[in-house]
Symmetry: C2
Subunit: 348 residues, 2 copies
């Protein structure tokens, strides 16, 4: 499956390019109080370790805005300031050295203030993401939340920037409703070439939120839409990054760490496969090298799947037969499978 | 988003119809030793409670086959026998009263034996699912595992049945590789009208396997493909059923229990939203009524999302404002939010 990607403009965010056929980047957002600089920096460092490429922080007030420079100076990935309603927060964030703003200019209400933001952003090469969200579309103007309403709302925000001759724009159109999200991006893709930030907003707790994100983001990506991904989970933001990479990896759009293939087990299984798989999954999380590891429970699909992986094991009664790059290696008793696989992986 | 579904034939499996524009059914497979009848029946009962519509059991040998009647008599959903290589297991399973076979006739090797299976299956109105799996495609014949190889392999199995004038067929084409799976079903959809059983095989442990299933099954469903879904996870099979419903629900293809919308939280959140959400998620699992419940952490999207849900709460500093069907109800202190939401949900 070769997915033809939508042609989008390139937008530079710090040292990273979003759009223009660059690899799809993964981003997240801190959940700390932005004014608590050590806690915020610590969380961003964890996100960096997990492979996060851009991080956003909420800027609810001027004291949060005044912390952005300190945060920026202690991290290695581009910093995005999430701002609503107050133009002064945007100006302060720009002066603090952030790499991007997320801001809906329609919420600023005053075109002079919008023009001031554009002037400062342009001076410092700071792009702006317009992030339309079904939960915050103006209900007085758009009675029903349809794809057209989300797109019209985004187009109004976009025009406010374009009127200031500002085109360094990224767009997102998020809803917790997945079909609505998909239709909105599809509609928008015919109207602008700005890069798309994609995600399913308020997807929920980790388990169901990851599934819903897989469905929604997966379908968008399969349509060639999306230049940067943010998974939203009610959970540690590191989980958002893992989920995003799992989605991208499953469609061969990025390679990141180990992809663990493992069989569901059935009445044929004669080892404690769950124990092996979960113990292995824990240990594999730190491996950064892109590898496919297969753990299979029986002879029906086992050898076939195991031999397609970079390394794999096909289990029989109490033992596993190791495969590496399609070649059978040797047999291992079940209690040694995890250790032996890890040893072989570390050699690779 | 209205998804036009592929036209497929109807196939009757016990009291259930797969295909022909019937609701997409959810199935799973037991992980117990099939010969342990009480353990197998217990697991099937748990699956029934979770909303599973069809259950499959492995039949590795004749003693497992001889337990099928006992299992069948104690459960309420159609029973499928998963059989490889040995035609006698298929004949025994049919005589034990199973509702469907999963069997690849090409693996039986002998056309007379295949014809005997078809004769018996037709006599008892038992459909057969041909389940081609990338791990078990004949490598001597198909050197490279491509969509065409999976489809050709399936077509060979299908022809063996059709030559016996047997057309009560369901088809699956599974791979752990998601783009390969999608391309295979897409190719197959132009060739036969038999219903499709869809899934991503060997998707992995619960966390990554659910994401990968969301992506793969979600994309297939968005293309209108799929009449019955099986999620494969290295986990309790009940989790497979929950995942399948979450996927179907996220695309409005089934409604099943509560959809919990919750915000990811950020530097604006002033309540312990994670605690509220996870405590609520636990309590909501038993609610069968299809409802949308939203738990939002701040004023930016909170009231908007909460008012779109059947019931929702938008939190501020230490309190939540309850919404029901779009109308604000009353404020609740944060420590009472879960209990009050549950009370209101039980009233609905």
């Amino acid at each position: 499956m070769c997915i033809p990607r939508r042609d989008s403009m390139s937008v530079k965010v710090g040292n990273l390019i979003i759009g223009g056929n660059q690899p799809i980047s993964v981003q997240s957002m801190t959940k700390t109080d932005t004014r608590d600089v050590p806690a915020t920096v610590y969380q961003i460092k964890q996100l960096e370790d997990a492979g996060c490429s851009i991080v956003r922080v909420a800027v609810p007030d001027i004291s949060a805005a005044k912390c952005l420079g300190q945060i920026r100076s202690q991290i290695n990935i581009p910093l995005v300031a999430d701002i609503h309603f107050d133009y002064r927060l945007a100006i302060e964030a720009i002066h603090q050295g952030v790499d991007k703003l997320r801001l809906n200019p329609g919420n600023i209400k005053d075109t002079e203030k919008v023009s001031l933001i554009c002037y400062e952003a342009k001076k410092f090469n700071i792009p702006i993401r317009i992030g339309v969200n079904s939960g915050s579309v103006d209900r007085k103007r758009f009675h029903e939340i349809t794809p057209q309403a989300l797109v019209d709302s985004a187009m109004e925000h976009i025009r406010l920037l374009e009127e200031c001759d500002f085109t360094d724009i990224i767009v997102s159109l998020k809803a917790s409703n997945i079909p609505l999200t998909i239709e909105s991006y599809k509609l928008m893709s015919g109207m602008v070439t700005y890069p798309f930030h994609i995600g399913i907003t308020e997807a929920g707790p980790i388990r169901t939120g990851s599934i819903r994100s897989g469905v929604g983001i997966g379908i968008l990506l399969s349509m060639g839409l999306g230049d940067t991904v943010r998974v939203s989970l009610t959970a540690d933001p590191v989980e958002e990054v893992y989920t995003a990479y799992e989605i991208l990896q499953s469609l061969n759009l990025r390679r990141h760490g180990v992809q663990l293939v493992s069989c569901p087990t059935c009445g044929r299984t004669e080892v404690d496969l769950q124990k092996i798989v979960y113990s292995l999954e824990d240990k594999l999380r730190i491996i950064k090298k892109p590898l496919c590891v297969a753990v299979m429970g029986c002879v029906v699909n086992g050898p076939g799947e195991a031999s397609e992986a970079d390394i794999g094991v096909a289990c029989g009664k109490g033992v596993g037969l190791l495969f590496k790059k399609g070649m059978p290696l040797y047999k291992v008793p079940q209690e040694r499978i995890v250790d032996v696989l890890m040893e072989e992986i570390e050699k690779m």
